[in-house]
Subunit: 150 residues, 2 copies
DNA sequence: ATATAATGTTAGATGTAGCTAACATTATTT
DNA sequence: AAATAATGTTAGCTACATCTAACATTATAT
């Protein structure tokens, strides 16, 4: 069950909004992604069919356990790529933001892990001490970096 | 006039085949890209419409000046990304091959240039001495590296 | 509680990219 | 040169991702 880039972006957005407010509106997702409500509706149905969210018409959007896990993995991949782009090669924030979205979808787990390790090492973060593993758990160092940037 | 990833792959393939044989067959392109002849036909027509190739039904495929320049740029971008993946982070050949295809399409000129410079520097190639510029000319160093690898 | 506004859904269209199956053209073989 | 093989084209289908416009539902305000 491989998601398309579009589906990944919707799932990612749902996860992120869910961690802010408890009530997610179709309209919010539409605004965030610059899509129409109709498109969001479509996407929601496809994610539901994949078993990644629970949803009944006019109801609340809820991530399933599976959906949550996958969303985290997607966000992690996104963060790694973006971190590399901004911190290692100095891409602009805006470019990195856009490019990471598409790149993350395309990378194999192996390449993503290698990119993560490389980026960590270059940034002087003791490589695998942070426990980063795309198939395992969230990279604490990266999470911390993002916090301190705010 | 931005090409899709699919269009870029077709243009790239046409350019590469053109540099081997002089006669390009629809069937060859189809085989190389693992697509049907019908799909290739489709793609050829879209590239023609973009003014990148000259083609009449049952005729010869010829790149226009514009098409040739763009093809070179696409191949250059592809090579940079692949070089980075294989030589810097040690991705496998196979993964790098596939991933570079998609990544190149998504990168802005700015990010691509930064990736090129970074990769060059890390490989100990005196950065910009090779004259690499995505909007200008082919990177001689990269070209040479590829030659010596064969 | 009803009218209005906000929000969500559905139907039908577009564009891209691929496929299969049928047909057309060109090349090869005998 | 006619038959056969190879090659190329077209039509019509599927799937995805988007859109607009019309409609349905839910929430808000008076």
């Amino acid at each position: 069950m491989e998601l398309t880039n579009s589906q990944e972006e919707y799932l990612k957005t749902i996860y992120i909004l869910k961690n802010t407010k408890n009530e997610i509106k179709v309209t919010e997702i539409a605004n965030k992604l610059n899509k129409t409500k109709a498109s969001v509706n479509n996407a929601i149905n496809s994610l539901k069919q994949e078993g990644l969210i629970d949803y009944e018409p006019y109801g609340q959007i809820e991530l399933t356990k599976q959906g949550e896990t996958l969303a985290q993995k997607i966000i992690e991949a996104n963060d790694i790529v973006k971190l590399f782009l901004t911190e290692i090669i100095n891409a602009t924030e805006e470019n990195a933001e856009n490019e990471a979205k598409s790149i993350k979808t395309v990378l194999s787990d192996d390449t993503l892990n290698k990119l993560a390790r490389y980026t960590h090492k270059e940034l002087g973060l003791t490589s695998l001490d942070c426990g980063y593993d795309i198939n395992n758990q969230r990279c604490i160092v990266c999470a911390r970096r993002k916090e301190s940037k705010k």
